[in-house]
């Protein structure tokens, strides 16, 4: 396998014929060598007295051996893989497969027991799993040596910045079971890189966060680059709301709370700049800062609205420490 990574693209070429041939030659060439040496020393000379006899005993087997190896080499084909920041392109012989990199959730290795049975080393298939849980076999079950597979999987994931996590049934090449990351369970909808329209504005989605609530449907938060600034949009029940962050100390001072108030003691009602806000919803769940998260991030949220229902405050407690207050 030839693997090369530059700043702009990753490319790999796999010559299946060469791989197959190398493994067969490794197994059989010593046998052929030993056989030839012994033949020369043990078989009486009269066998080789004419070239026809010599060819029959040594030439024909050698021709058959190298001929069949050459046929194997030519019939196995090649695969090419090319990945840029936008697209992954895989070519297996004449068949092609393209996928935008934003849709890729993870690469993983699947044990190929058929190919392993006849091999000295474990063989694996490189699988691709998308954010909408579709699975693709990158090389149509041709069986890569496990170490090559791991190198390719890791290099692709590093190139794209995808966190490596355990997929059920994954073959572990280097051991140390990968962590089972928590995956986002709302893969559909807006994704990073798409253009999002909200009100009279529109922009490119830079980041997507998700709140998986225990008792209600998940909410999402987007960072959208409009060209002028970074807009923070909170998506709740299919509606987008533009938010801005409020300094916690200034907020607590404005509302008259003590500065070191604990989460449990936050009141259900408060005044902020002569407006009354009351608690509408209190939820808890898990926060996902990207598609998959290494560790569970507990999150609690208190949702306050004013009487006209046109402004809100969202007070969020992340991992039982960081409080963040957003105003819509």
């Amino acid at each position: 396998m030839k693997l090369s990574v530059s700043r702009l693209e990753l490319s790999a070429k796999i010559n299946w014929g060469r791989k197959h041939l190398t493994s067969i030659l490794k197994k059989t060439l010593p046998l052929l060598g030993i056989g030839t040496v012994i033949s020369f020393t043990a078989i009486p000379y009269p066998i080789f007295e004419t070239w026809i006899k010599g060819f029959t005993f040594l030439g024909i087997p050698s021709l058959l051996y190298f001929g069949s190896s050459a046929i194997l080499y030519l019939t196995k084909g090649k695969s090419k893989i090319r990945c840029t920041n936008e697209e992954l392109h895989i070519q297996n012989g004449k068949t092609e497969f393209r996928i935008p990199t934003q849709q890729i959730a993870q690469f993983y290795l699947k044990y190929n027991s058929d190919k392993t049975r006849n091999s000295d080393h474990a063989k694996v298939d490189l699988m691709l799993i998308t954010k909408d849980h579709q699975k693709y076999d990158c090389f149509n079950a041709k069986g890569l040596p496990a170490k090559d597979g791991r190198e390719l999987e890791d290099t692709l994931q590093q190139f794209l910045g995808i966190e490596d996590y355990y997929v059920e049934g994954e073959y572990q090449v280097v051991g140390h079971q990968k962590e089972s990351l928590i995956e986002s369970d709302l893969p559909k909808g807006e994704s990073v890189g798409q253009i999002l329209s909200f009100g009279t504005e529109e922009g490119i989605i830079l980041k997507k966060f998700q709140y998986n609530w225990d008792q209600s449907l998940p909410d999402q938060l987007f960072w959208v680059e409009t060209g002028k600034d970074l807009s923070i949009l909170y998506k709740k029940e299919e509606h987008f709301y533009k938010e801005s962050k409020i300094n916690t100390t200034l907020f607590f001072r404005e509302t008259g709370f003590t500065s070191n108030i604990s989460w449990e003691h936050l009141p259900n009602i408060f005044h902020y700049k002569n407006e009354l806000f009351e608690l509408i919803e209190e939820t808890s769940g898990l926060f996902l800062s990207s598609y998959a998260e290494k560790k569970e991030i507990p999150v609690q949220q208190r949702f306050y609205k004013n009487l006209n229902q046109n402004n809100w405050f969202r007070i969020v407690l992340y991992s039982n420490l960081t409080i963040e207050i957003s105003k819509s």
């Binding site: 012994i38 840029t84 910045g161 100390t249 991030i297 960081t322």
Partner: protein, 353 residues
């Protein structure tokens, strides 16, 4: 190593490796006789099949022993280098090692109750062995699977999984090999964007065009916070650093410099408890209001250097100046920063090779 959960609630581990020598010998003794029978049959068959030919060409008689010597030498060489497919099946009341070689099967059963624990020891310079210690009829060590350094991690996994399944309490043994996986920071993409550049395009040894000047990045520190967000500190060739901080509702970029004397802002340099810090700090006629508290891990490059880092972020009312109080172990550092507008970071050039 491949892991499959079986229907009876157990696990099947498939690993490519070599059985230990005692088990190999036991396996050979068991299947040896059947093996020889097959080879004897092959020898007689080839002799009978080629006999009519040898009548006309008596020299051909030499070919048969030649072929057999070649076969045995070749097989010996092949077996020496071949890794076996070893299957370890564990279920509630059984722990078995199975090996399939061509059509031969060999199985070694252990009573899980009889296993005190498993452990890994080094047998040669680059050879490790997974061993089991059994309790009765007398306490003894049985070597199970051997492998080189490449297999070590898989053997450790196998040992841990079996211990976990049978709830075996592990004691540290003399000569035991311990193997720990290094903790890595959250990944960032490796590809470089020529257009629409962002903070992920700044690499070690790259050059950034900041506020009209070119700066060389000499070091990168990464902070992985418990809330899933990441901050980067890009050290410049001057004593300053470009600090990127993100929280779900905001991202900040400021140019910061360490304050030599933290008592100037009224901080006790030995204070390490977050709740005891003032919410408002006063420095150079400006009030700084605490906006965030963070806890996380500090990585210098890809190496974890501090497991428990605390940070307090303060900002002035206009959100133009920042104070970052950074608690590392027993000491604190205070950084004074000034916000960088996005247009002030104009160009990022790739790292110098």
């Amino acid at each position: 190593m491949n892991i499959i959960e079986t229907r009876n609630g157990g696990y099947l581990f498939t690993i490519k490796g070599k059985l230990s020598k005692p088990l190999q010998e036991e396996y050979k003794r068991k299947i040896g006789n059947e093996d020889k029978k097959g080879e004897l049959f092959l020898f007689i068959f080839s002799f009978v099949a080629t006999f009519p030919l040898t009548l006309s060409n008596p020299e051909l008689l030499f070919l048969i022993p030649t072929a057999f010597i070649t076969y045995f030498l070749g097989k010996r060489y092949y077996l020496k280098n071949k890794e076996d497919t070893i299957r370890i099946v564990i279920s509630e009341d059984s722990f078995a090692i199975n090996i399939i070689f061509d059509d031969d099967r060999y199985s070694k059963h252990f009573d899980p109750e009889n296993i005190e624990q498993l452990y890994i020891r080094r047998v040669e310079l680059n050879k490790y062995c997974l061993c089991a210690i059994t309790k009765y009829p007398f306490r003894q060590q049985i070597a199970l699977i051997t492998g080189n350094e490449d297999k070590l991690a898989e053997l450790v996994d196998l040992k841990n999984q079996i211990h976990e399944y049978f709830n075996i309490q592990e004691d540290e043994l003399e000569g035991e090999i311990t193997y720990q996986q290094a903790e890595l920071p959250k990944r960032k993409r490796q590809y470089f964007n020529l257009f629409h550049q962002d903070i992920n395009d700044i690499r070690l040894n790259s050059v950034i065009h900041l506020k009209g000047d070119d700066h060389h990045i000499t070091k990168i520190n990464q902070l992985d916070w418990n809330n899933g967000m990441v901050s980067y500190q890009f050290m410049l060739e001057t004593e300053e650093a470009l600090f990127y901080h993100s929280s779900p509702a905001e991202r900040l970029l400021f140019l910061e410099k360490e304050m030599t004397d933290s008592s100037e802002i009224g901080l006790n340099p030995y204070q390490t408890e977050l709740d005891k810090f003032e919410k408002i700090l006063y420095y150079e006629s400006t009030n700084f209001y605490q906006s965030e508290q963070n806890k996380g891990k500090l990585f210098e490059g890809k190496k974890l250097t501090h497991n428990n880092v605390l940070q307090l972020l303060y900002e002035d009312e206009e959100k133009k100046r920042f104070l970052r109080v950074f608690i590392l172990g027993s000491g604190i550092k205070v950084m004074l920063g000034e916000v960088i507008e996005e247009h002030q970071l104009q160009e990022i050039l790739p790292e110098v090779e």
